[in-house]
Each structure stands twice: as C-alpha cells, then as structure tokens.
C-alpha cells in the first residue's frame, strides 16, 4: 500500500462515509448537497487509485465522473426544484460547498500532476481538474436555489 492509496482510503473514510450519512438522513437539501460532495470526492478517489495502482488508463473513470457527477446533481436540482426552492440549503452550506469544489480538486490534482510528469496523462489530469471544479461549483449553485423555480412544477 503506497501513499496514494492511503490518501484514497482517507478520503473514503473521512469524506465519502460522512457524505453517505448526509445523503441518507435529514432534509432533502442536505441529501442533495451530500450527493454533490460524494461525486466530487469519489472522482478524486478514482484519480488517486489510478496513480496508486500505477494504471494510467484508470484515469478515464475520473474523467467520466467529472462530467457525469455534476450532471447527476443537476438532475436532482431540476426535478426536485419545487422541494428545494421551498427549503433551500443555507447560505453557509452553499459557501462551504463552493469552497470545497474550488479547493479540493487542485489539492489532489496538482500533486498527481507533479508525480505524473509531462505527457498525455498530465493534460488529461488538468482537464479533469478543470471540469470537476467548474461542474461542481455550478451544480452546487443550482442546488442552492439560485436557479429560478421551474414553472412546470408550479402548476401541479
């Protein structure tokens, strides 16, 4: 077991496990936020595992999750919009989520970039980092109700 795998285990135990708790209990707003955080963290875990197992091709898992994770959260933001608008996440949670989406990817991706060295994998890693940061910031924003209430959901 090397440092990368240990880091992945730490993220799983201290990040994904609490997120699972958050997604299974409490009000809907907390659950959607927890799902968003979990997708972000699991994407980072995938990158760490790819490096830890020395399998550059595993990076594709992170690449896919970097675009599909935010898409998943946007699904909830769109179809549960009425419920979320009635009880949106607090401003503090939203801010914490934005900070996490902006800070966590570079924190993991930059060391990985240094370890990888120049090449195709480096470009891929940077792309994943950028997609993940942008996607999770936006999906977090969508959950926190800055989106206007869909009128479809109004007339039921």
């Amino acid at each position: 077991m090397n440092g990368w795998l240990l880091a992945a285990a730490v993220v799983l135990a201290l990040g994904v496990a609490p997120a699972l708790w958050g997604a299974t209990t409490g009000p809907l707003r907390r659950r959607v936020v927890a799902q968003n955080v979990a997708a972000l963290l699991v994407c980072l875990v995938m990158l760490l595992l790819a490096q830890g197992y020395a399998r550059p091709s595993y990076i594709d898992l992170g690449l896919v999750l970097a675009v599909l994770g935010p898409a998943g959260t946007l699904v909830y933001a769109r179809l549960l919009a009425a419920e979320l608008a009635a009880d949106p996440p607090t401003a503090r949670v939203t801010r914490a989520m934005t900070v996490l989406s902006a800070a966590a990817p570079p924190l993991v991706v930059l060391p990985l970039c240094v370890a990888t060295g120049p090449g195709r994998s480096l470009v891929k890693l940077l792309l994943i980092g950028a997609l993940l940061t942008a996607g999770n910031t936006i999906s977090g924003r969508a959950v926190s109700g800055t989106t206007s209430l869909p009128r479809e959901a109004h007339d039921g």
Binding site: D60, V67, A71, A82
Partner: protein
C-alpha cells in the same frame, strides 16, 4: 395461504439459500490467490489478437456471441418500453411550459455538452485499449444529449431529438453487429470470427473486429437510451393523465431513516 404459512415458507427458503451460499462460499479458492486458470488463458489469447484491453477482447472477440445476446436484451427491453409507454387513446399530450434556468447553469451545460459527447465517443473508440467500450460510451453520449433537458430546456432537446431517427440508429447498431458476425462467417471461419488483420498492438486500429463491434454497440446503446428516455420524458412532461408534475407536495410517506 395464511400469513403464518407464508412466513414459514419464507424462513425455509431463506435458510435453504443461506446453507447453499455457505457451502459454495467455503469451497471457493481464497481471496486474491495466485491461480487464475481462466484469466491466464483469456489474457494470452487477448494478447495474441493484439487487443490491449483484455475485457474488450473477451466481450467482443472471444465471447462475442454472449454480447450479441446482451445487446438483444437491451433492444427488446427498449422495444417493450416503447410499446408500454405509448400515448393511449384516452390520453392527450400537451407541450410543457418553458422553464427558465439560471444563466450560469445554462452556460455550463452549453460547454459541458460537447465535452461530454466527446468523452463518450472517446470511450467508445478506445474500447480495445483502455477501460470502457461501446456500452459505457453509448450511455455517456445519450446522457450528454439530455443535458439539454436537465440544464437548458426541454424544447431544445426535442429539436435535436427526432425519436424516430434514434430508433433507426438503435436498430442499425443491432443489425451492424449481426452483419459483422455474418461477415466473419463468410470470410471463411465462424459466426463473429475476428477476420480482420489484428493491427499494431496498443494502437487505435488494433484488435481486428473489436473496434468495429464496439462502434456498433455504441450506436445501438446511444440510440436505445435516447429512445428510452424520450418515452419517459413524454410520459412525465407531455402526456396528460394528469402528468403535469407538482413534486414534493405529497410527501406523506415521510422518510424513516
């Protein structure tokens, strides 16, 4: 049957399964052992056919016939959904009203859509080299298109999604797989034989028929998923048996955990 009898039946069945499972589990080779008779043979024959991703070699070359079965299951399932979720005589469809979406989300979706589409195509094209292939890539392509509904507008999705065209793509993908199999038969050996030159190991053109079969599956899965979601979207948003939405007001089934 009375409640008590049913519980007894459940208990007997449950214990039976538990006993069989325990017997089977104790007879398994140890976790993470060194003896992998099937794995070694699969890897050897994948490398002999210049396919870097052994899983793709198993799925689309060594056991390509199984994949034909799986593909047909998806095809049949989507066909069933289309029949079941059609608009019946006592229903009518009404176009859903437009939804205003946060401009930031909209802008993100406009950028993310082509990127996701490209990633999907990349996963399909690299099936013979790295994890992934036609199925995974096809689903990603279909999901990418639905970003239009999720983050932009249902009407925008409808504009690029003539469902009939995707149904044809679904059928064409399925047909292409069978035709490629028949080509193997005609080329002199057996159905779904890998009759093309194997190419240079670890390049895009390696693996013989593997990339072509992957492409066929990719087209089929993308088409099938789009058609499937089209029926779901029709039912949820357009077809009126009262389907005008209004989530969340009826949460009597409050959550237990």
């Amino acid at each position: 049957m009375s409640r008590k009898a049913r519980l007894w039946l459940l208990a007997v069945g449950g214990i039976g399964v538990a006993v069989l499972l325990a017997c089977a589990a104790f007879d398994l080779p140890g976790f993470g052992g060194t003896s992998h008779p099937y794995g070694e043979r699969a890897v050897r024959s994948a490398l002999a056919r210049h396919t870097a991703n052994v899983i793709s070699s198993v799925n689309f070359d060594q056991r390509a016939f199984d994949t034909l079965g799986e593909e047909s299951i998806l095809f049949a399932a989507v066909l069933g959904t289309v029949v079941l979720l059609r608009e019946t005589r006592d229903e009518h469809s009404e176009p859903p009203e437009t939804v205003r979406v946060d401009p930031h989300v909209r802008r993100y979706a406009l950028i993310a859509l082509p990127v996701t589409l490209l990633i999907g195509l990349y996963i399909i094209a690299h099936g013979q080299l790295s994890p992934g292939g036609g199925f995974q890539g096809g689903v990603i392509v279909a999901t990418a298109l639905h970003l239009l509904y999720i983050a932009i507008d249902y009407k925008a999705l409808e504009r690029i999604r003539p469902a009939a065209a995707y149904a044809i793509a679904d059928a064409a993908g399925e047909a292409a797989y069978v035709l490629l199999g028949t080509a193997g038969l005609l080329a002199g050996s057996v159905f779904l034989a890998n009759f093309l030159p194997y190419g240079t190991f670890n390049t895009l053109s390696s693996g013989g028929t593997v990339p072509l079969l992957n492409a066929a599956i990719g087209v089929e899965v993308a088409g099938a998923t789009v058609v499937l979601l089209a029926r779901f979207l029709d039912q949820a948003l357009e077809i009126e048996g009262g389907g005008t939405g209004g989530t969340g007001r009826q949460d009597e089934e409050a959550n237990r955990s």
